[in-house]
């Protein structure tokens, strides 16, 4: 039920209800994008039960990965 998966927006249809196709590792699905008005094609969004609920921040993701790399370097 908490199942939310990150995917890449392929295209957007603006209108009454903003929707678009999102690709998850090659599998695409129609998703409601009403809650992520700033996200567009090429952006990654977190999708839950057919709705994008947040945009994934590449910057923060990179920060986390870098932090992890630093940790891996310590006290192995």
């Amino acid at each position: 039920m908490c199942l939310a998966v990150p995917g890449e927006i392929v295209d957007v249809v603006e209108g009454d209800l903003r929707t678009g196709r999102v690709s998850f590792g090659g599998v695409t699905k129609q998703v409601c994008l009403a809650y992520v008005p700033e996200a567009g094609p090429g952006d990654y969004v977190l999708v839950h039960a057919g709705f994008a609920i947040a945009q994934v921040s590449e910057a923060h993701a990179r920060e986390t990965i870098e932090e992890l790399s630093r940790l891996e370097g310590e006290g192995a």
Partner: protein, 365 residues
């Protein structure tokens, strides 16, 4: 998959485990409140990687598990009506009501359909103008915005054949209820990351301050969970009790403003009974007065007054498991009288229930 695989890495996970071990000098109990996190902990055997002083407890983070039997009874009753199409998420199918479940309702002729999204149910309503489409709206704050939008859209389109049977629950009141218990063992919390993408982090500040517990917003992949545990242990060891965001790649402190606005428009906070726990004040969502026409319990004249608690008997200790007082493995019925094939209670029925997760990913037969 991008933004998934990177957080399942062996090296990163073990580096975090070592860092946690280095930081730990005393025993700590850390609780997460999301079935998805419970599942990941069981699936990847994360507790095994932690030093023995750190114990992971599981909270009532499975909305399927805490849906009261009466709600299922209402859904089953509605499904039996010839004009009704009862739409539900797949994981609600086997949750027991007082007698039977939605799967048996379907087998005996009820029109029960599994949907992936509330928008699918809405589409069904558009396509079946002569039927009444009822959507069983279950979930935490993560799912409420989608349900709200479906109702909002139904009103905009003037649909008269779409309604919700609502059993939404809210996380912070459950956390507060657990912390209010004087016998509680919980020292720190991992807050459900996806709930926080909607709600932000602000509502945890008063809880952290009042009960002096660190609350770390945490993701769902194994590396995310270990990150959350690490930050929580660091705070506990340092005597701090703050709200910290360890899932910043999707959680903004302010959450999703639009989503919250829609929830506030369509829903209102209510008391809610949690199966296995009991009533918690202001812990649920119901349809707001302006949207009552979309409330299935009103539309179909279902019982409104609180009903006597209908619980499964047979020695089910779901209630204790749900508040982290016991681990699933401590229940005498676990794995013997109670298995996913013959479940005694909701925590074994739902695939995200703690008992089901522990059983499925148990260490040995």
């Amino acid at each position: 998959m991008k933004y998934v695989d990177e957080y399942r890495g062996n090296d990163a996970a073990h580096a975090l485990a070592r860092a946690i071990a280095r930081a730990t000098t005393r025993s700590w109990c850390i609780m997460e409140v999301c079935g998805g996190q419970t599942h990941a902990i069981a699936r990847f055997g994360l507790e095994e990687l932690l030093p023995p002083e750190v114990t992971l407890l599981h909270g009532p983070g499975c909305p399927v598990c805490v849906t009261p039997a009466e709600t299922l009874d209402d859904a089953i009753a509605l499904a039996a009506r010839p004009e009704v199409v009862l739409c539900t998420y797949g994981d609600m199918l086997r949750v027991p009501g007082s007698i039977g479940d939605l799967r048996t309702a379907k087998a005996t002729g009820g029109d029960v359909r599994v949907v992936y999204s509330a928008m699918d149910a809405l589409a069904l309503a558009r396509g079946l103008p002569d039927r009444q489409v009822v959507f069983l709206a279950v979930g935490f704050e993560t799912t409420a915005p989608g349900h709200a939008l479906a109702v909002y859209q139904a009103r905009r389109e003037g649909l008269s054949n779409f309604s919700l049977l609502v059993a939404h629950v809210l996380v912070p009141p459950a956390i507060a209820a657990i912390l209010q218990d004087e016998e509680r063992r919980v020292d720190g919390f991992l807050a459900a990351g996806h709930v926080c993408t909607i709600m932000g982090t602000a509502e945890y500040e008063p809880i952290a301050r009042r009960y002096r517990v660190p609350i770390v917003v945490t993701g769902f992949e194994p590396v995310d969970i270990l990150q959350g545990v690490y930050r929580c242990v660091r705070q506990l060891e340092g005597g701090r009790a703050e709200v910290e965001n360890a899932y910043a790649r999707v959680v903004r402190d302010g959450g999703n403003v639009r989503a919250r606005a829609m929830v506030q428009e369509v829903f209102a906070v209510t008391e809610r009974r949690w199966r296995g726990i009991g009533a918690i004040a202001a812990s649920g969502l119901g349809l707001a007065p302006a949207y009552r026409e979309f409330d299935a319990s009103v539309r179909f004249g279902l019982p409104q007054a609180p009903r006597a608690s209908v619980e499964i008997d047979g020695g089910c200790l779901s209630g204790l498991v749900l508040v982290g007082k016991i681990k699933p493995t401590a229940c005498p019925a676990f794995g013997t009288r109670c298995t996913p094939d013959r479940p005694l209670g909701a925590t074994m029925v739902s695939t995200e229930g703690a008992c089901a997760a522990y059983y499925r990913y148990r260490r040995s037969s």
